[in-house]
């Protein structure tokens, strides 16, 4: 088993998907989190001055949050059963990347009233139209999983996105019109490995 060290801030953010994949797959890793004040010291060590970064066996480094997650998913059987399924899973996770981008401004807004306003706009303009499509595809695929007939990292990515602190706090109604996706997300959350991790992970703002 390779030695994994995942470098990221002590938040969920763009590191959480990889953490969830590793926990789901039951793969041990060094979940290395640092505080904001320690970042400058680490920044210069990272290939592109950004995190998350995955260090493998103490020597090779991989950057880009979804590249890391995809690599781990592939290494541990969570990426789809064939090339086409793998690309479908990629497609869904790329959609989540876009949704993360859209949610950035509301996430960083400190005024609660303004934050709710921004959140509602992103939900209305971006998330709801996307969910309408996802729900259609999910039903067409048999209703259980996004890709193929088993769990992939795409399902985990949607779980991660729709259970972020801001989503938990302000997004109570977000999945109302997407019952199949809502159920899928609950199923991922009910996985014993995920549950155990979620119960013990650090409580963070994002």
């Amino acid at each position: 088993m390779p030695g994994y060290k995942l470098y990221y801030f002590n938040v969920r953010g763009r590191g959480e998907l990889s953490r969830l994949i590793l926990h789901y797959a039951g793969v041990p890793f060094d979940d290395f989190r640092f505080e904001g004040k320690d970042w400058p010291a680490f920044k210069s060590k990272m290939p592109f001055g950004q995190v998350p970064v995955l260090e493998v066996d103490g020597e090779k480094m991989l950057a880009q949050s979804h590249t890391i997650a995809r690599y781990l998913a592939r290494q541990h059987g969570l990426a789809g059963q064939n090339d086409w399924e793998q690309s479908q899973a990629d497609m869904y996770v790329d959609c989540i990347y876009d949704l993360h981008g859209a949610m950035r401004t509301p996430t960083w807004e400190t005024d609660p009233v303004k934050q709710k306003e921004l959140f509602d706009k992103v939900n209305q303009d971006t998330i709801q139209p996307h969910l309408e499509k996802v729900e259609q595809h999910l039903v067409k695929n048999g209703g259980g999983h996004l890709v193929g007939q088993g769990l992939t990292w795409a399902d985990i990515a949607y779980y991660a996105y729709f259970t972020t602190p801001i989503m938990t706090r302000l997004g109570g109604e977000v999945l109302t019109k997407a019952p199949h996706l809502k159920k899928l997300i609950e199923t991922v959350g009910n996985n014993p490995n995920i549950q155990k991790y979620v119960e013990t992970r650090p409580v963070t703002s994002g």
Binding site: L62, Q64, H66, R70, S87, Q88, M91, D94, C95, H137
Partner: protein
Amino acid sequence: MLIETFYRQIGSEIVTNKSFKFSMPVYKLHYFNNPRRGRAELSRLIFSQAGVQFEDVRFSHSEWPNIKPTTPFSQVPILEVDGQVLAQSNAIARYLARKYGLAGKDEWEQAQTDMYIENIHDLLNAAAVPFMEKDPAKQKELYQKFMTDTIASHVVAVEKQLKKNNTGYLVGKQLTAADLAYYAFFSDFIEVKFGGAFLKDAPLLKSLIDRVKALPNIKKWTEFRDSKYPEEN
């Protein structure tokens, strides 16, 4: 047997034997006709470098409202592969790169290729901010900031990786979609808009871009593309 007889026999076997069916997938890449390159260009470069035929479907913005509901997520580019549809520019590029030997020689190199493609994706997203700015003075300011804040530090980081890899390529010892992605962004967009000054301290990156530009299949594609779909600057 006589050569003639030999070939006649092979020929009839090809016609009658179903296992001889050549099954190259039918590819249709759908994107706007403006921007002409944008988020579809990496996939077009991959097709071209790999020598794979594809239908390069480009539609006008007035046609988009009719096309939009037929796409998986109301976005383009999309790739049709024998009628099945894949969305998201990077998922498409990644699928084609892996299929046609432009994604590195093993899983780790594939991951590195992905990483570089995603770097470019971030840079494209960052460039979209000034690109969309309507006020010319503000746009100039935003582009300036983009070049000094975002591009400059990234070029330094990439140059360092190229030096470390020491093969002339971003990943491993051969051309990958990562090199194509960097060529597409830095040559087709940055160099065209801002000139090559930003590359003056990045000889390895400059050399890579020039080398990709000169690849026979890439040259063939860009010459065809530039005459058929001249880009507005």
